[in-house]
C-alpha cells in the first residue's frame, strides 16, 4: 500500500554565486563585532608580535585593541588634532603616528606620553612608518615632502622633495633598511634609496595614489588609486603587470592574506574584494554598510578589521573548527528533536523482542491539505507571506500540482479582495521569472478568466491588475529588444564564420551557437 507522495519541489540552483574553496574560507567568519569610534577610521595596523593587538587611528585618538576584547586595551589621546597612520614597529614596542598639526609622535606601547616628537613638516603628516633597521622613521606629508628621521637623536636625516602633490601613502622595505616607496596625489609612485638621496624609480599610476603594498618577496608592488589597483614588477624596473578595475569608487586600502595567496582591496563603494594573486580574478566579495577607509587582516587571517567613514569599526573573527561543529550540534540538541530521537539510540539486548512501529510520514501543511483534497486551503497555505517571499518555488510547485490534478480553477476561484490581491501580488513578483513562467502564465490566464466579471469593483485589485499589465508590457518590450539583438548577432556570426567545404557543413546552428562543442549544464 503506497503512502501519500508529497508535492515535489523543484530545486533550482542559485545562479551567479558559485561555492568555491575561497567562498567557504572567507564565509567562515562570525557575525561582525561593531565598535563606534569618534570619527572616520583612517588606519588599522596589527602588531607583528603576539598577541597581535591592533592600533586603530580614528579622529584624534589611537586605540589599541586586543585580539578578542571589544574595549581598547590602550588609548593614545594626546593629539592636538586628527591623528593619522598609527603604526607598530616590527618588535611591537613602539608606535608612530602622524597628525594634522604636522608633528610626528612616537609612543611606547606601554606608556602614555609621547617619547619623541618630530617637528619639521609644515603640513599634516599622513604617512608614518619604521624602517626595517628599527632606528629610523619615514614620514610623508601634505607639504609634498617625505623625510627620514633618526629615533635616538630625534633629528631629521633626509628630506625628499620630488613629489608635486600630497603624499598620502608610503611603505618601507622589510628586507632592505634603505629602501622605501611613497605614493602621491601627483599620480606617481617613487622608490627611494636612502643612500643616494634621490628617487631611483618612478612609476605612473595614472590616478592619485591612495595605498601601497609590497609583496613579502618585495619583487612586486601593488598600488591603489582611483578605481584601479595596479601591480608593478620592481625587479623589471617598475614594469606594470596588471591593472585591475573591479571597484566602482576609489580604492582606499590594500591588504595581503597571511599566506600571500590572496589580495584584498577595500573601496569607498563599500566592498572588500578578494583577488587570487596568481590570476588576479576576484574570488570573493564582502559587503559593508559604509564607505571603507581602512582594512586590516590579522596574522593567519584570524580576523578581518574594517574601518569606515561613519566611524564604525567592524571586526569579524574566524570561526574555530569546534565552533563550526558546535553550531550544527546545537541544532541537533533542540528539545523538539531530542523528544523526536528519544530512545532511538537504545541497543536491543539479545533476547529482546522488537516491535516495529510504523514510521510516521511527516507532511508539509499544504501536502496535508492536498491529501484531503482541500485545494483552496492548500493554495492559501502556499501563499502565506513567508513562503511567498522566501520560497516562491514552493508556491509555484503547489500551483503546478493543482494544475496537474485539474483543480487549479477551483482553487483560484471564490477568493475575496484580500486573497485575490495577495495572489496577484505573488504573480506580479514572479510571473516573468523564466523558471516559473511556464506554470504561472496559464494560472494568470485562468485568474483573468475567472475574475473578469468583477474587474472595477475593488480599487485594490484594480491596482494590482494595472501593475500586472505594466509588467507584461515591459516584458514584451524586453523580448522584442532581445529578438532584435539576436538577429544582429546572427548576422554577425554568419558573416564572420568561414564556410567549411567538408560535408560537416550541414550542421546548422541557428542563433549564433558556436560551431564546436556547445555544452549545456544541467540547470
Amino acid at each position: 500500500m503506497a503512502s501519500f507522495k508529497p508535492t515535489k519541489i523543484q530545486v533550482y540552483p542559485k545562479l551567479g554565486e558559485k561555492v568555491t574553496q575561497d567562498t567557504l574560507y572567507w564565509k567562515n567568519y562570525k557575525a561582525p563585532v561593531q565598535i563606534k569610534e569618534f570619527g572616520a577610521v583612517t588606519n588599522i595596523d596589527f602588531s607583528p608580535v603576539a598577541p597581535h593587538n591592533y592600533a586603530v587611528t580614528a579622529f584624534t585618538r589611537i586605540h589599541i585593541y586586543g585580539p578578542f576584547s571589544q574595549e581598547p586595551v590602550k588609548s593614545f589621546t594626546r593629539f592636538k588634532d586628527t591623528a593619522y597612520c598609527g603604526r607598530f614597529r616590527s618588535d611591537g614596542q613602539l608606535l608612530v603616528a602622524g597628525c594634522e598639526d604636522s608633528v610626528v609622535r612616537l609612543f611606547d606601547v606601554s606608556g602614555k606620553v609621547a617619547l619623541r616628537m618630530f617637528k619639521g613638516h609644515t603640513k599634516a603628516v599622513r604617512v608614518t612608518d619604521f624602517t626595517s633597521d628599527r632606528y629610523h622613521i619615514l614620514t610623508g606629508s601634505d607639504d609634498y615632502t617625505c623625510r627620514l628621521w633618526d629615533i635616538p637623536n630625534s633629528t631629521e636625516l633626509t628630506s625628499y622633495q620630488e613629489h608635486t602633490d600630497y603624499i598620502r601613502c608610503g611603505i618601507t622595505s622589510k628586507l632592505n633598511r634603505d629602501l622605501f616607496i611613497t605614493g602621491s596625489y601627483d599620480h606617481t609612485l617613487k622608490l627611494f634609496d636612502a643612500r643616494v638621496n634621490k628617487s631611483v624609480m618612478t612609476m605612473d599610476h595614472g590616478q592619485p595614489v591612495e595605498s601601497l603594498l609590497l609583496y613579502p618577496s618585495e619583487g612586486l608592488l601593488v598600488s591603489a588609486g582611483g578605481r584601479y589597483v595596479k601591480v608593478w614588477d620592481l625587479l623589471k624596473g617598475g614594469q606594470p603587470l596588471v591593472s585591475l578595475k573591479n571597484h566602482h569608487k576609489t580604492v582606499t586600502c590594500l591588504c595581503l592574506s597571511s599566506n600571500g595567496q590572496r589580495l584584498l582591496s577595500a573601496s569607498l563603494d563599500r566592498h572588500v574584494k578578494v583577488y587570487n594573486t596568481t590570476n588576479y580574478k576576484v574570488v570573493h566579495n564582502f559587503d559593508y554598510a559604509a564607505s571603507i577607509l581602512s582594512l586590516g587582516l590579522a596574522p593567519d587571517d584570524e580576523s578581518i578589521v574594517v574601518g569606515m567613514t561613519n566611524g564604525i569599526l567592524s571586526i569579524k573573527h574566524r570561526k574555530s573548527s569546534e565552533e563550526t561543529k558546535e553550531i550544527s550540534g546545537q541544532q541537533k540538541r533542540r528539545p523538539a528533536y531530542r523528544v523526536f530521537v528519544k530512545g532511538k539510540n537504545y541497543v536491543p539486548k539479545q533476547d529482546d523482542y522488537l516491535v516495529s512501529k510504523p514510521v510516521k510520514q511527516h507532511l508539509a501543511k499544504y501536502d496535508k491539505q492536498l491529501k484531503r483534497f482541500n485545494v483552496s486551503k492548500a493554495l492559501d497555505t502556499a501563499l502565506e507571506t513567508w513562503t511567498r517571499f522566501r520560497k516562491p518555488e514552493i508556491t509555484v510547485a503547489v500551483i503546478k500540482e493543482l494544475d496537474r490534478r485539474g483543480t487549479l480553477k477551483n482553487a483560484l476561484a471564490g477568493r475575496d479582495e484580500r486573497g485575490l490581491s495577495q495572489l496577484l501580488n505573488f504573480l506580479v513578483g514572479n510571473l516573468v521569472d523564466p523558471r516559473f513562467a511556464p506554470v504561472l502564465v496559464p494560472a494568470t490566464e485562468m485568474i483573468l478568466d475567472i475574475y473578469q466579471s468583477v474587474i472595477g469593483q475593488s480599487p485594490v485589485v484594480d491596482v494590482q491588475l494595472q501593475r500586472l499589465q505594466d509588467l507584461l508590457e515591459r516584458e514584451i518590450g524586453y523580448q522584442q529588444d532581445l529578438l532584435e539583438v539576436l538577429g544582429m548577432l546572427d548576422t554577425m556570426f554568419t558573416s564572420s564564420l568561414p564556410r567549411k567545404e567538408v560535408p560537416c557543413s550541414g550542421i546548422s546552428r541557428p542563433n549564433g551557437l558556436a560551431q564546436g562543442d556547445a555544452s549545456l549544464t544541467v540547470l
Partner: protein
C-alpha cells in the same frame, strides 16, 4: 542425449488475474483466480502460486467453490465446459460439457445445489443464500427470478437522465436484501421485493464515480464496495452512516471477494493485482501479475542485472517482470507523484527508458501533454544502488528537449567510465549526455549535456550506437548520419536508397561493420560501413528490426496481409537462418531478445539462433495474446526416464477430452508434484528420506494392482526396446533418435521407474 523439436510460439504467461472475481478457500489459505486458460491457486499468506489448474482450452470465465465440498471448485470457460477441481492437490475431477455451441460464453457461474447457470449477456448474476431467487442486473433493469414463482423485474427509473445504470450487485446472505452498485457512484439497497410493486430501496453515496463491485460479508454484517477511487469502503449493515475506509490500494478496484469465514477480503485491481486484506482492514498480501497499460510506450527491455523484462507498468511506473517465474519482481516509481484516480486527467507517462550495458544506469523519459499547454518533459537518470538493490534517482533534467523525444540509447562501451546517453527529439536536435564527476552545486556524479547536434534542421528519428561504441548512427528522415562520439565529427551520411528510415540497427560481433535500416518504402537495407556503400537491400515490409545482443543474429518482423512473419538472419549471409510464416495475427509491436539462464547446445541449424537467448514479442492485440515466446523444445534424459509415465497417465485421463494443447515435456505427475510443490508445503526432508528408503526396501512386496501396473510398464518398455533395437519407425519419433540403451541400463531404468512412483504416490495419498 539432447534432441530438438520444432520451434514453436508459446504463450508465456502475463495473463490477467483480475479478469474475474477471485475466490478464497474455506480456510482462507488458498486463493483461486481465473487466469487466461487456467485457474491459478495462490497461497494467501505467502503470495506464491501453488498450482496451475490447466485443462481448459479457452478463456476461463468463472471460478466458484463447490458448496457441498469445500475442497473442490468449479470453473467455467469459454470453451463451453465446466470443470470440477480438487484445488488443494490440483487434480481435475470431473468435466461437464454444457454448451456444444461455441458462441455461448458463460460469463459468470453461480452454484446452488449444483445448479449451473449460464448467461450470455447479463452483467451480473447472483443467487441468494437460501436459494429462493436469482437476481440479475442488466442496463437499467434488475431482475429477480424466483425458483418457486416466476420472474420479477425491478426497474430503475431514469427520468432525469441520471447515470444510474447497474454495475454490480450482491445479495444479503440472510435478509431479503439486494445491494446494487450504480454508474453514478451510488449504492442502492433493495428490500421487500417479493411483493409486486411494493419494493423499497435506500441509497448510500460515497463513491464519486461508478461502483465496480459490492459484496456482503458472509454474516451479512458488513457491505464492502469499491470503485475507481481505489478505496475499499466497509459499510455497516443497518448502520450505514458508519464507514471504514482502506485507501491507497494502488489501482481501481474491479472485484471484491470475501472468504467464507469472513476473515479475509480479496480485491482485484485494474492493474492486474490481487490484494488480500484482513478483515480488520489491513493489507496482508499483494499478488501482482504483469501490468498491462493501454500501450507499451517504452520498448521491451531486459534488465542486464536481474534479467527481468522491463516495460511500462502502473501509470508512472516501470515494472520489472520475471520471465522465468511469471511474476512481477518490483515496480520502480518513475514519476514520484501522487496518482489521482480520476478519469480524464492527463497524467505523466513514462514514454522512453533505456539501460546501459551493465545495468548500472537507467534513463527514463516521462511526458505529460495537456491540451493547449506546453509539453512537460522530464529526463531522469537512475543509478543502481548495490545496497538497496534498486535504482536511485541521480539526475532530473526538466525540459531536456523542446519537443517529444523520439529515441534514446546508451553507448555500449565495455568500460563503464565513459557512459554516454544520446537522446533525439522532434525539435531537430540530438543531445549527448555524459556523467560528470563533480560540480560546485551538486554532490557526487551527475549527468549533464555534452553535445547538441543537428543536421539540416531535419527531425532525428532513430539513434543507435555500434557494438564498440565508436560510432553513432542517427537517422534524419531519409538520411542516416554516422558520427564519432569521441570528437563529435560527422563522419559520413548514407542516403541511398531514398525513403524515410523507420528503424536502425548495427550488426554485432562478426557483423559489426554492417548497419541495417528499414525504410518506409518497405526496404530492408544493409550498409557496409567500411566502404560506405549499400551492401544489399531487399523489399519487405519490416515492422520491427532488432538485434540479439549475444550473437550476430538479427530478427525482422514483417507484417504481411494481416499477420506477421518472422525472419532471423545474419547480415553477412544472404540466406535467412530461420523464417516462420504467420507467426501470429496482427502486427508485432514490441519484441526483445532475452538471454537464457543456461545456454543450450543445439546443433540444428534452424534453431541454433535460440541457443543463447529467447525471443519475446508483444502483439497488437495485447488483450488476447499478451506475451509469446519462441522456444525450442529440448528432450533431456530426464524426459526419456519419465516421459513414458506421463503418456500412460494421459491415456488414462483421456476419457472425456483430448489433450489438444501442446504441453511441455514433463515427468510423471508425482515427480512433477514433488518438483512443483513449493518447499514450504512439503514435509521435512527426513520424513521424505525415510519414506524413500522404505519404498526401496519393500519394492518387491507390492499390492496386486501395482504388480499389474508394473507389468504393463515392463511390456511397454519392452516394446520400446524392440523399436529401438530394430531401428524401426515407431510412432514415437522422438525416442528413436535417442541412443540405444544397453540391457543393463534398461533394467536399471525400469527399476527406477517402478520405485519412484510408489513412494511418491504413497506420500501424496497420506
Amino acid at each position: 542425449m539432447v534432441e530438438h523439436g520444432d520451434i514453436r510460439v508459446v504463450h508465456r504467461g502475463g495473463s490477467k488475474i483480475n479478469f474475474r472475481e477471485p475466490v478464497l478457500s474455506h480456510d482462507s489459505r488458498l486463493l483461486l483466480c481465473a487466469s487466461g486458460e487456467c485457474v491459478k491457486v495462490f497461497s494467501s499468506s505467502t503470495e506464491e502460486c501453488v498450482h496451475d489448474l490447466q485443462g481448459h482450452t479457452d478463456l476461463v470465465t468463472g471460478v466458484l467453490l463447490n458448496p457441498s465440498n469445500h475442497l473442490q471448485a468449479y470453473s467455467c470457460s469459454a470453451d463451453g465446459t465446466v470443470r470440477l477441481w480438487d484445488f488443494t492437490d490440483g487434480i481435475l475431477i470431473k468435466v461437464q460439457l454444457h454448451c456444444h455451441h461455441v458462441s455461448v460464453q458463460p460469463l459468470s457461474v453461480s452454484v446452488f445445489s449444483l445448479l449451473m447457470c449460464m448467461c450470455v449477456t447479463l452483467t451480473r448474476l447472483l443467487s441468494s443464500s437460501q436459494g429462493e431467487y436469482i437476481a440479475s442486473a442488466k442496463g437499467l433493469h434488475l431482475e429477480v427470478y424466483f425458483f418457486k414463482k416466476q420472474k420479477f423485474s425491478l426497474k430503475e427509473d431514469n427520468k432525469k437522465g441520471a447515470k444510474n445504470t447497474f454495475t454490480c450487485l450482491s445479495c444479503h446472505p440472510k435478509d431479503d436484501c439486494i445491494a446494487t452498485g450504480h454508474e453514478d457512484g451510488k449504492i442502492r439497497l433493495w428490500r421487500n421485493f417479493n411483493h409486486k410493486r411494493e419494493y423499497t430501496y435506500s441509497t448510500l453515496h460515497w463513491h464519486h464515480s461508478a461502483v465496480s463491485s459490492v459484496r456482503f460479508t458472509p454474516e451479512g454484517t458488513n457491505l464492502l464496495s469499491g470503485g475507481v477511487e481505489s478505496v475499499l469502503v466497509q459499510w455497516r449493515y443497518n448502520q450505514e452512516t458508519q464507514k471504514d475506509f482502506l485507501p491507497r490500494l494502488g489501482a481501481a478496484i474491479t472485484h471484491i471477494a470475501v472468504s467464507p469465514d469472513g476473515e479475509l477480503f480479496c480485491t482485484a485491481h485494474s492493474d492486474n493485482k490481487l490484494t488480500v486484506i484482513q478483515s480488520c482492514v489491513k493489507v496482508s498480501a499483494v499478488i501482482q501479475g504483469l501490468v498491462k497499460g493501454e500501450s507499451v510506450r517504452t520498448d521491451l527491455m531486459v534488465d542486464p542485472r536481474s534479467k527481468a523484462l522491463v516495460l511500462n507498468g502502473k501509470p508512472g511506473h516501470l515494472q520489472f517482470y520475471s520471465l522465468q517465474r511469471d511474476k512481477q519482481l518490483y515496480n520502480l516509481d518513475i514519476v514520484q507523484q501522487e496518482y489521482i484516480h480520476e478519469s480524464g486527467l492527463q497524467q505523466f507517462e513514462v514514454v522512453k527508458a533505456a539501460f546501459d550495458t551493465r545495468g548500472n544506469w537507467l534513463a527514463t523519459v516521462e511526458e505529460r501533454k495537456q491540451k493547449d499547454s506546453t509539453l512537460e518533459l522530464n529526463l531522469k537518470l537512475w543509478a543502481y544502488d548495490e545496497q538497496t538493490q534498486s535504482f536511485v534517482l541521480n539526475t532530473t533534467v526538466s525540459g531536456p528537449h523542446e519537443a517529444r523525444i523520439t529515441a534514446m540509447c546508451f553507448c555500449h562501451t565495455a568500460d563503464s567510465q565513459t557512459t554516454m546517453l544520446v537522446s533525439a527529439s522532434q525539435d531537430g536536435h540530438f543531445k549527448a549526455w555524459q556523467l560528470e564527476s563533480n560540480h560546485y552545486f551538486y554532490e557526487g556524479p551527475f549527468w549533464s549535456c555534452d553535445f547538441v547536434g543537428a543536421y539540416h534542421s531535419l527531425v532525428p528519428e532513430c539513434c543507435c550506437f555500434s557494438a564498440d561504441g565508436s560510432l553513432l548512427a542517427i537517422s534524419f528522415q531519409e538520411v542516416v548520419t554516422v558520427w564519432s562520439p569521441a570528437s563529435w565529427e560527422l563522419l559520413t551520411t548514407l542516403s541511398q536508397p531514398p525513403g524515410a528510415i523507420r528503424d536502425l540497427c548495427f550488426g554485432r560481433q562478426s557483423c559489426s561493420k554492417y548497419l541495417l535500416g528499414t525504410t518506409a518504402k518497405n526496404l530492408l537495407c544493409c550498409w557496409n560501413l567500411l566502404t560506405c556503400t549499400l551492401e544489399w537491400s531487399t523489399s519487405m515490409d519490416v515492422s520491427l528490426l532488432l538485434s540479439d545482443p549475444l550473437s550476430e543474429n538479427m530478427a525482422a518482423f514483417c507484417s504481411h496481409a494481416g499477420c506477421t512473419d518472422l525472419f532471423v538472419f545474419k547480415p553477412s549471409e544472404p540466406r535467412p537462418l530461420f523464417s516462420h510464416k504467420a507467426i501470429c495475427s496482427g502486427k508485432v509491436t514490441r519484441a526483445v531478445f532475452a538471454p537464457r539462464e543456461e545456454m543450450l547446445e543445439s546443433c540444428e541449424e534452424s534453431s541454433q539462433w535460440l541457443n543463447r537467448s529467447q525471443l519475446y514479442f508483444l502483439t497488437q492485440y495485447m488483450v488476447n495474446i499478451p506475451l509469446v515466446i519462441d522456444d525450442s523444445v529440448a528432450v533431456t534424459p530426464f524426459y526419456l526416464l519419465l516421459g513414458k509415465h506421463r503418456q500412460q497417465q494421459q491415456e488414462k485421463q483421456d476419457r472425456s477430452f483430448s489433450a489438444e494443447r501442446n504441453q511441455l515435456p514433463q515427468g510423471s505427475v508425482a515427480i512433477k508434484e514433488l518438483l512443483h510443490t513449493p518447499a514450504h508445503v512439503l514435509p521435512s526432508a527426513s520424513f521424505l528420506c525415510s519414506m524413500f528408503v522404505r519404498s526401496l526396501l519393500i519394492s518387491e512386496k507390492k499390492s496386486e494392482e501395482e504388480e499389474m501396473e508394473s507389468d504393463k510398464e515392463e511390456e511397454s518398455e519392452c516394446e520400446m526396446e524392440a523399436s529401438t533395437m530394430g531401428q524401426g519407425q515407431t510412432a514415437e519419433a522422438q525416442e528413436t533418435a535417442a541412443p540405444a540403451l544397453t540391457k543393463a541400463q534398461a533394467r536399471e531404468l525400469r527399476r527406477v521407474k517402478k520405485l519412484d512412483h510408489s513412494w511418491l504416490s504413497s506420500l501424496l495419498d497420506s
